[in-house]
């Protein structure tokens, strides 16, 4: 089980701030994104290749995801 978090505009698109996603593990972040886009209402509106983080660190879509990890889908960063 992987915890997926959504922020800002992405949270609005899927109507939630987080979701629990189950998929065969280990998987990649890209697998998690695909699962979210396919299974979650509104998920198809998320980009295919969003910025992502695992356990509070920026990662690429080919990064490995383990059971219990927290995966975050990050809209384009706009701080400052």
């Amino acid at each position: 089980m992987v915890r997926v978090r959504f922020f800002a505009r992405y949270a609005e698109l899927v109507g939630r701030a987080e979701a629990e996603v189950s998929l065969p593990l280990p998987a990649t972040v890209g697998d998690v994104v695909r699962r979210v886009r396919e299974d979650l209402p509104g998920g198809g509106k998320l980009p295919e290749r969003p910025l992502t983080a695992v356990n509070l660190k920026h990662v690429k879509l080919d990064a490995t995801v383990q059971d219990g990890d927290e995966v975050a889908l990050l809209p384009p960063i706009a701080g400052g």
Binding site: R9, K57, G79
Partner: protein, 149 residues
């Protein structure tokens, strides 16, 4: 502490970096803008992936220490609704000489813009709300998104 929901106290940041050996101090303030391109921005609502902000900022600060080991740097990013004209971020860097102070300050703001997961939504005088992308331009209006419970 990096994030705050209160107005930023520059005096406090200056006190954090002050040291007799550091002869140059550089201050950068980012403020909520309502210019000709902003169409009447009354405020910006800042949100963040707060746990990751703290973690990533720790890594950013370590990078800055590696580049300027003699510098002292203090940063605050404000979250929540910030009225136009008020500061959303303050960076204060002090170094033995001005060149390192300017360079470190510039490095930190550019890295914040690139790495730190913070987002902003413009609140406009006509009542609309618009997410802002990194280039500073509006993306889509939340009202274009599906309604959700």
């Amino acid at each position: 502490m990096y994030l705050t929901r209160s107005p930023i106290s520059l005096d406090r940041l200056l006190a954090e970096v002050a040291h007799p050996a550091l002869g140059g101090t550089c201050v950068f303030l980012g403020t909520v803008r309502d210019g000709p391109e902003e169409h009447g921005v009354t405020a910006i609502e800042y949100s963040a992936y707060e746990d990751m902000v703290e973690a990533e900022f720790g890594r950013l600060a370590a990078d800055a220490r590696g580049r300027w080991p003699d510098a002292r740097i203090a940063v605050r990013h404000r979250l929540g609704t910030i009225p136009a004209g008020e500061a959303s971020i303050a960076i204060v860097s002090a170094a033995p000489h001005r060149a390192q102070a300017f360079d470190a300050c510039r490095f930190v703001i550019e890295e914040v813009k690139r790495r730190i997961p913070v987002w902003k939504k413009e609140l406009r005088v006509d009542g609309t709300e618009v997410w802002v992308d990194p280039s500073g331009h509006p993306t889509v209006r939340p009202s274009d998104s599906p309604t959700h419970a």
